[in-house]
Assembly symmetry: none
Homo-oligomer: 132 residues x 4
DNA sequence: GTGGTCTAGACCACC
DNA sequence: GTGGTCTAGACCACG
């Protein structure tokens, strides 16, 4: 369970946390029932304001991915994995549609766009694991 | 020369203006040398504060897309079209790479991603009007 | 008597006119008693708003360089040359002092500044007459 | 970190701020990584509107001299010093060239100009304090 | 608390 | 009329 945040990359820190937890759940790194670090621990570990962690956990609870177990900590929900996988799918799908749409609306022709896509794809497949 | 803004869609108004002007220049709707509506006119037309328009124009001047002609108005620069086209190209390219990368890193396999892309493409090509 | 203005170079057009007339008088291109083009003619000739020419002539009259001869036109004053020469001298002196002062205050050392000066001097002496 | 502005000296306040920050960075008064006063503090300190300070900071961010750290404040960029030093150098160089050129074009002879320069230089070196 | 954005309205120089 | 600058005060997201 190792999260990493990049401050000032435009994406709010709490949002980065949310995404990474979802990712970990979708990948099976975090399994249902498992306790995740407390708000305080996580905040210390990431050198981040506890309020920020709290906010991320809260959002994840609202999406039924985490549940707070009174006085025991915060755990991954039972149905979490399914939600996270679907979530990820939908997120990518939405963003892809948005980019493609903007490109087409901007007058980029189909072929050039497809070429761009294939280039990005190759690039991502090659340098697969340098996520920073 | 008809711009439209959507308030409260997350993107600052001045940024929406910047993009739309760039788009219009890239498309040849605005041609080099042409005067664009004055700050006040544009503000009135869009029901927006003049300062907001001013800010957009200022940014476009910094990017050598517009130039202010003392007391005559604001005109499109000579080299503007080239800049805008390149700009748009790069923007789409970056965003596409980012989405693809995130998808791959999230474990989405190549084929499903390609399918998503083709679906988005078809959808955008068919329904030309902005889906908001 | 050939003036040239550059719009949008930061210096107001009327100020450019004032300077060029003074320059012409200092150089003897315009001599005391000589009539200069009317406001309308000058405006047409330079493709400039008549108000702008008027403003320049007015300022020059206030500095006793031009005088309006009722219904005959506008002429160069008797003492104009002396004034213009002194004026030019003072202007250069002031601007030079200001630049030097700012440079020194900015921490530039004496020798580097002198080197800069000599370089500018050489450059101006060589390419002496391309004033535009 | 003590800035001072003079209202109504022709140079916009935000521009004065930009210059003074650049100067401070070039001199090492502000070092990379250091947080500068918040927009609100600076505005209060200078008895100026926060928007005006904001504008100056924004311009400095565009020039890669400052960077905004989300909710922490505004800090000096790593490469800022180099940029500021080069900036200052170029600025002085340009203005000096412009004055010298105008002087030569006005018919001032080389020796008199050199004498003026030396005089300005001596004057600035003696009276080290800002003559307002 | 921070910076980012926006509105409303003012004054100025220039043409 | 134009653009450029400034003030005053508001709201928001973020930490």
């Amino acid at each position: 369970m190792q999260l990493s945040i990049e401050p000032n990359n435009g994406i709010p820190i709490y949002e980065q946390l949310v995404r990474q937890v979802k990712y970990a759940v979708a990948e099976g790194i975090l399994v249902p029932g498992q306790l995740i670090p407390s708000v305080r621990d996580m905040a210390r570990q990431l050198a981040v304001n506890p309020n920020t962690v709290q906010r991320a956990y809260l959002q994840l609870q609202n999406e039924d991915i985490l549940q707070s177990l009174r006085s025991r900590g915060v755990a991954v929900c039972e149905g979490a994995k399914k939600i996270c996988v679907a979530d990820r799918h939908q997120l990518v799908s939405e963003r892809l549609a948005s980019v493609v749409d903007e490109a087409i609306r901007s007058g980029l022709d189909e072929e050039r766009l497809r070429a761009m896509f294939e280039k990005s794809l190759k690039s991502s497949l090659r340098g697969g694991d340098k996520p920073s």
